[in-house]
Every structure is written in C-alpha cells, then in structure tokens.
Symmetry: C2
Subunit: 380 residues, 2 copies
Amino acid sequence: MSVPNHFDLLATDGAARTGRLTTPHGVVRTPAFMPVGTAGAMKGLHWREVRDAGADIVLGNTYHLMLRPGAERIAALGGLQRFTTWNGPMLTDSGGFQVMSLAQLRKVSEKAVNFRSHIDGAAIELSPERAIEVQLLLGSDIAMQLDECVRLPAERADIERAMQLSLRWAERCKRAFETAPDGHMLFGIVQGGDVPELRHASARGLIELGFHGYAIGGLAVGEPQEVMLAMIEEAAPILPADRPRYLMGVGTPEDMLEAVARGIDMFDCVMPTRNGRHGVAFTRFGPVNLRNARHADDPRPLDEASDWPSTRNCSRAYLHHLIKSGETLGAMLLSEINIAYYQRLMRDIREAITRGSFETFRMQTRADWEQGDIASRDPA
Amino acid sequence: MSVPNHFDLLATDGAARTGRLTTPHGVVRTPAFMPVGTAGAMKGLHWREVRDAGADIVLGNTYHLMLRPGAERIAALGGLQRFTTWNGPMLTDSGGFQVMSLAQLRKVSEKAVNFRSHIDGAAIELSPERAIEVQLLLGSDIAMQLDECVRLPAERADIERAMQLSLRWAERCKRAFETAPDGHMLFGIVQGGDVPELRHASARGLIELGFHGYAIGGLAVGEPQEVMLAMIEEAAPILPADRPRYLMGVGTPEDMLEAVARGIDMFDCVMPTRNGRHGVAFTRFGPVNLRNARHADDPRPLDEASDWPSTRNCSRAYLHHLIKSGETLGAMLLSEINIAYYQRLMRDIREAITRGSFETFRMQTRADWEQGDIASRDPA
C-alpha cells in the first residue's frame, strides 16, 4: 500500500488499543477525544483551557468555516491552526454532515451536493474535489472524505445507494488529496447504516483504495446504542490494525468506553460543551443536572477527588446559581468541567490499556456511573 | 476620629495619589480599577483571568445578590468571596443604584426604598439598616452606605432633597455597621449632583460622621465629562487626604486618567466587559471596533507591544470573525483584553505617580489615544 502510516500502535488489551498518531502539528495520544471547535472556536472555552484539559487534537467544521470566514481567507492568514491560535493538531470534517443538517435546498447528485448557505442563502456546490480543496486551504492535519450520511432508520436501498456514492466520492477525494503536503492525512469513512453486509462492503472498498486512517460514520444519528455498538463490531475487525479508527460524532462517556472496548481510537462530539451550556455536568458519578434545586445550598464540589480545579473547587451551590441566573460563567465552567472529564476518561482509558487492566477499569467506571450522584445533604 | 484607617498613602504627584488599602481578604494597590461581578460572576471571564489581568479587588452588586441567590444563603455558604471562588477583596454597593435603575414600582421614603424584584415581582424593603445587614451577610470587605442617586440633569431642589436624605441614611448605615468585624470598611457617598455647594455640604456632613473611605456618587449618570471632572474638583480637596476616594461607576480610560489627576483612588465600571461583548476593544490606540470590515483580513494583533497574551497574539481577523459569528469566545477574549487593558492602565498610573512623572505619562497616554488606531494594511 502506497499510503504512508503515521500511527504507532503501542499496546492492545482485548480489542482495546492505545497508540500515537503523529501529525504535522504534534502528536495525538489515542484513544483520543476531539473537542469540537465548530466555526474556529470552542463554545465557552479558551484554547488554552482546551489544551490544559488534556486535549491533543480538536475538530473544525468545514461547512461553517467555508461559509464564514471562508477557506481562502483562512489560508491567506496562515491556516486554521494559526488563525485560531490553537496551533495544535486539527481534524476537519468534510462539510457533508452539516450540509445535510443545516443547509437549505440541499440536492445530492453524483457530481456534488448543492445547497444554499444558512447564513446568507448563497448557492454553493460542494464536490469531493472542493471538499478536499477547502480542507487543504484550511491546512487541517487530518482531512475527511466527502460522504453522504443517512439518518436512521432508513430503507436498505437508500443506505446502499448512499454507501456506494460515498465509496465513489472516497476515490475522488483520494485523487484530489494527492497534492497534500507530506504528513497530512486523509481518512475514508465507512458507511452502510445498520446493515452489516453494507458495512463490510464499505470497509473493504475503502481498504482497497487505501487511506491514512478509517472513520466509521453514519452512527449516533438516531439508532439505539446496541445498534451502534453492533455496527462497530461489524466494521472495526475488518479495518487494518495498524491504522487509526475514528468513530464520528460519538458520544456519551458510556458510548466511548464501549467503543474503545471494540477497537475505536478517536472520537468527537459537541455533547460536553452543549450539555454544559444546559447545566449538565459529566462526572465520575454520571451526569449531574445543576439546575436541580437540591444543589442550591450544597457547598460541596461536583467531585472532591477530581484533579481538575473547577470540578474540585466550585461548589454545587455556585454552579446552580450561575446556571439559574443565566450567567455566561456557568456555561463556561460546565463546558470546561465536561471537556476536562472527557479528557480524563481518555487518559485513564489509555493508562488502563497500557497496564493491561482495561476490563477492570471498564467495569469499575460503569459501576461508578450506575451508582449515581452523591446523596443530598441532610436539611439539618 | 474613632474610625480606624486601613489606607496607606505611599506617594503623591500633584493631586494624583498612589497607596495601599488593606482589607480582610488582601491588599489593594491604588489607583485601582474594580471589575464588576454583578451577580457573583464576571461576564465572560473566569476569576483566575480577573486575577491574572492584575485586579486586586472586584465589585459585587448587592441588589442582584440579595434577590438571587440571597444574602442569607451566601452567608451560610461562607460569604461572597468563598461562594464565588474569587477569595480576594470585594466591595459591594448598597443596592440603591440598581433599585433606581432596575426595580419596579419603586418608592423612596425616609425609612427605606420599597420596590418589587425584577425577577419575580416580590415586594422588598431596602432600608439603610437592611442594606448594611445584607452587605455584612455577604461578608464584603468594603460596604457602601445606602444613598439616593439622582439622574442628571435634575432640579436643584430634587438634588438637595436626595443629598440630605443620603446624609441621614449615611448616619443610620454607620450605626448599623458598628457590629461589623474588625478590618471591614464602610464608605460614605458624596452626593449633590452638579451643584458645587451641595457637594461641599455632603462631603462635610460625611466627614463629620467619619467613614473608612469616601465615594463620590451621582456622577456618570448623564452629565458631560467636564461637569463630572468639575464636581470631583469640588469634592476631592475637601475629603481627608489619608482616606481612600472612590469615584463610583466610572468610566472610560480617559475619565479615569483625568479623575486620578484630580485625586481619585478607586473606580468601577461595566464598560470593559459590556463594550467587549459588543466588539469594542480598549487599546493603547483608543477604542477599536472589531466589527469593522477593515479587520477581516488583518493578521496583526490589537497591540503587538502589549504584555497581555490575547492582546498580542490574537489577530484582528480572528477577533473580527468571532464577533461577526456571534461566538462566545469573541466576547470572552475582548472582555479579558479590556479588563487587562484597564488593569495595565492602573498599573502604569501607579508607577508614574511613584516615579513623580504622572503628568508626562498622562500627556503621552492622551496623545496615543488621540492618534488613534494603526492604519489599515494596503489591499495589496
């Protein structure tokens, strides 16, 4: 295979893996969670906080960035890493997923997807070639192929048509990516909905083309968790063991723990920041809703054993007050607390795999979550 | 005079002064700018950023905090400094100013001001005694007397009536403050609108009562800058030289520079965070509106000579993009940049007074502001 490999698999424990992915902007420890910086910014976090929380890599949304401020402008300003001041590894999606969910008057053809911008209504064509061109202009360390993602449940014929189109677009993306500078990577995306044979066919087709890494797409789009995990079990074992595997748009801490157990290396999701803005903290005790009145007089922190300062130092009463008052700081603190929790989960997963004790870690972590939050204090 | 003094006047230069105010939660270097943490939070900044920016002391709004989460609750949680995690010096206003501007069905009598909460419509009575009780519950290092602030322009009779009422309330506040723990301070507030004789009478009345410090209130309420400065010139020379002087609710960088030149030691204002949220940066070159399209392709920072990282490292193009896109990070960065600029201005003022070169500093700073922002780059 002529595609260079930038991934070092360091240890495995069952199907779980830990490794190191070397990008032009730095090394990514896997399993890795990529916080989502939609339009060149994380919602409610400074980049320094994303870094401090332990993130090695973040995700940028091609759809948002191509509309505003524009890929050519970002290229002229030195690329996305420099533009944002993040200056570390960045993965960009292809724009396809947001086109499906946000754009107006969307029309998919063999050639491209045509749509109107949700910002100013401008008519835009996103072809596989343009999706790669935009990502090369952005300078992302890891680009994604353009694909068509079908929301589940869907008819098998629709799933198969989109999967086959995505395979043909994968080939065109690979060709367009030939001009990419050394060290930059392109990932293919396994589609096929909830149909095992289609997942197999998609994975085999992509492997035949050859990519730097492989994503599993079209999940976390409405299906039950067991379907998602079953589809990972269908696809992951087929994928080359020496290449990184990225489960797109996932998910809850439990989703990620179970996906790692099935051989996944990379994740992204808006959940930690979005749920944080809505008053929900992810903790060792599972999700905690700070809007609940039971926190109003509680001087205890979310988790006194956490090594993240805000998780350990801010009282539940203060977080409750900030969220109830609509203070920006509430969303900022909970977004930061959640990103830090996700990164700590990844760190602990990596350490457990390295030690060969991932199964024990997984059972203990699930037991902690299932036990739930600490009891309310006595009203006395 | 029986009121202990916690202020050390370290140097003067003309009427400008620099000193040190010792509070139960730490030392405040003056001249000092107090960022405003309205309801127990700064808008768009973590407390660690307020500290890093150089702030020694912050302001909390009694009106907001007494309504939500409530003074008794904050007291039970260990006081406002601990509740917020700020853990440094805090000044609280008396609540009077916000009652005038925010509350509904407000009625001022000799006894108290009665109003309805803007949150839930509850009927509340704020007397001088309750204003002090609330501030003692909050545990503020510096409490303010309850006063009546008249918006200008106003009839002299109205100004005089409010000034006399404020003097009688000052006496009741002082009596209520007798139970305060050692080291906590109460400031009286000079009223009198734009009438010199009333300012004199107010200042003399307060001095006769005796306070830890003296504020000048009822300015920055609609009058031209020259009226504000003239009223400072009337009041400040009467006030005891060994006590801190606080100009309430002021202001722009220029307002503060000119007020320091007339003997003021302390300031507070929402302007750096509010204008930041609206896309305006305060800089060495004067205010810069990042919404302006001229910044869209400009890779230069706001001020490459600044020692504040975001001011020096974020491109104007990035800030423009964040503000135009409505990204929270834009408001966060500009709020932080502005608070840092205000604190640097105070630091530089203190150093200039200490060196005896305040007048040179003042002229140079005004010249920089008047010169305006750096020129746009050539479209080439």
